[in-house]
Every structure is written in structure tokens, then in C-alpha cells.
Subunit: 212 residues, 2 copies
């Protein structure tokens, strides 16, 4: 067997350190902007180890992305019965993990769809399908395209404030960055989704107005 396979396996440790350092670096600067030296330094590991373990900067990026997606998948429950709560959960998760959001953005820009497919493609497809199925079941409908569109929109609404934090601040003011502002925004989204999906917007403003 390979040496050092026990709990303190230094191989796994360096790999993990590298991966975490890489996540920080890539989240901050993207693939093109990231510096291999900086990653190695931050991980406290020699640069050469990156190539030994991952092959190239690009492949390291792919690995980081995959691990990030696993984290998202593990952390957030399926839409299930209540789409509004799903948005609420997603919103909180992304708000507290801005690096993950940035990572996904860099990836979206780096792999401009079309020809080259993303790392972990079929895994993503499965994930999205199960989301759609979950929401369809919760709503008592068949999992068709329109439900899929719904899932897509809900995810977008939850992620958007973390995707464009500056725009949020410009639009709703400085308080967007405060915990209270965050909470208000989440409530706004929840009300919006609830009104759209359950059609219980009595005065026609429930999604717009807060609770003054």
C-alpha cells in the first residue's frame, strides 16, 4: 500500500491545504488572475506539489470547482414543498459563502458553454433534475420544463444579491451590507416568491412593501 495512509496522512494534508489555498486564490482573482506561487505560499507547500497532485493550474481550478459544488449540494436541502423557504435557505447559504458564489461566476465566465463542457457535467444535470422533481412533487405537478424554469428562477433570485453585491449597495443603499439589510432583503424575496407562487398578494403590494 501507499505510505502514510493513516489519519495524519501528509499527502492528503498537503492536498487539502493546497485545495483550500487555491479556493481562496481563485475566488479572489479567477483562473487567469490567480498566481500559482501565491497558492503554494499560502498553503505553505512547494509550488511543485501543485503539478504533482493536480497537473496544472487549470486542473486545480476544476478540482476546486468540483469540491465547491459538493459543498453546495451537501449544504442546501431540495426545494420540496415550500419554494419560498427554499429561496430563503439558498439566500442565507450564499450570503454566508460569498467565495463560492465568486467561484461559480469565474467558472461561468471561463467556460462559456457551447463546445467545451464543464467539469462534473452529468453530476450537475442530475442535481438540477432532482431539484426540479422535488419542486414538482411539492407543488403536485409533473416535472416538466415549466417547473424547471421555476427552479432556475428561484436559484437566480437567491443568488443574485451575492452575485452583484455592489449593485445591491448602489440600489438599496449602504444598509445592504448590514445584517439587518440582509434580513430585509431575504424577507422581500420570500414575500415575492410566496406571492408569485401561492397567489396570496391581497393588496397587490405585499411583495413590494415591507411591514411598516
Amino acid at each position: 500500500m501507499s505510505p502514510r495512509k493513516d489519519a495524519k496522512d501528509p499527502t492528503a494534508a498537503t492536498k487539502a491545504a493546497l485545495l483550500e489555498a487555491a479556493r481562496t486564490e481563485f475566488a479572489a482573482y479567477g483562473v487567469a488572475g490567480a498566481r500559482v506561487d501565491r497558492i503554494a505560499e499560502r498553503a505553505g507547500v512547494n509550488k511543485e506539489r501543485i503539478y504533482g497532485h493536480f497537473g496544472s493550474k487549470e486542473k486545480l481550478f476544476d478540482t476546486v470547482i468540483k469540491s465547491a459544488m459538493d459543498e453546495v449540494a451537501a449544504a442546501v436541502a431540495l426545494p420540496g414543498k415550500d419554494p419560498a423557504e427554499y429561496v430563503s435557505n439558498l439566500f442565507d447559504f450564499y450570503s454566508t459563502h460569498p467565495d463560492l458564489v465568486r467561484l461559480l461566476m469565474w467558472e461561468a465566465l471561463h467556460y462559456r458553454g457551447e463546445d467545451d463542457l464543464l467539469p462534473g457535467q452529468e453530476l450537475r444535470v442530475d442535481k438540477c433534475r432532482s431539484k426540479t422533481e422535488s419542486l414538482a412533487e411539492g407543488l403536485g405537478r409533473e416535472p416538466d420544463v415549466s417547473v424547471a424554469r421555476m427552479v432556475f428562477t428561484l436559484v437566480g433570485m437567491a443568488m443574485w444579491p451575492s452575485v452583484m453585491p455592489q449593485l445591491a449597495r448602489i440600489t438599496v443603499g449602504e444598509e445592504a451590507a448590514t445584517p439587518e439589510g440582509r434580513e430585509a432583503l431575504r424577507e422581500h424575496l420570500v414575500a415575492f416568491v410566496r406571492a408569485a407562487v401561492e397567489g396570496r398578494a391581497g393588496d397587490g403590494l405585499s411583495a413590494v412593501g415591507g411591514r411598516p
Copy 2:
């Protein structure tokens, strides 16, 4: 006066060529990934002109961003009376101008808010304020934070499919890329917004279901 000041002013022409080439390059690769040589070559102009006219790669990027924002501002009307139609218009605009969306994404990632402020900051603030005022007036409300949140969310919904085209394809399938799929998505968004804002979701599924 300066030489060549007439209509065919070659200075203005090279500047314009440079700006367009830069927009394409930056949209494709971002600030870090963009290559100054490539921009100059695509513009059919010597690299040095970039520094003569704009000072640096970064400043060129800023200029590109500013011109892009002017284009957005000029192309899309204010929310006004009908938020759903606003989303519809925005959606169409962004769908037909994916480069602009990418540009804004690169910028959002490049200027991670906080300390350094974005190019054309106050212009943006004004723009967002007038959007909020327009929507508030259309809804017969005062332009407060909750209306601002609404504006922010609407913009997000309209932009989201262009921000994450791959996710759209993964979630709703290949048809997301077709004109029909685009249209269906737009209608879904319109129905969603209408239901949320006007509270006329009769069966509770109007935002979810299409019109089968």
C-alpha cells in the same frame, strides 16, 4: 488647433476601433485574461496607441465599462407603470447583448466593492435612484428602500439567464438556447412578476405553469 479635426478624424477613428476591439476582448477574457496585443491587432492599430489614448490596460477597461453602461442606459426604458414589461424588455436586451452582461460580471468580480469604488459610481447611483423613483411612481408608492429592493430583484431576474447561460441549459434543457426557449423563459418571468406584484395568481400555479 490640433491636426485632423474634421469628420474623418483619424484619432477618433482609432480610438473607436480600439474601444470596440477592447470590448470584445474584455468580454471574452476579463481584465486579467485580456491581451493588449490582441486588442491592438483586432483594432488594426499599434499597441502603443492604447497607452497614448487610455494610459493603461486597466483604464481602457474602465472606459469600456463606462461606454457599455451608457449603452444599457440608452437602450432600456425605466420601469414605469408595468414592472413585468420592464423585466421583459430588460430580458430581451440582455439576451441579445451577452457581451455586455459578461462585461458587467467581469467588472463585478474585478472591483469587489468595499474600498475601491467603481468607475462612474455616482452616475450609477443616479441611474438606480431614477429607476426606483419611476417604479415607485408607477405603483403609486413612495420611493423607499422596499421599492429599491424590488428594482434590484427585477433587474436580477431579467439578467440571470444571461448571467448563467450554462446553468439555464442544464436546468431547463437544450431548448434554453433556442429562440422558442428564450421566449418561453421570458413569458415565465413576466407571469412570475405579474403574479407577485399584482397578486392575480388565480389557481396558485399561474407563475409556474405555462399555457398548456
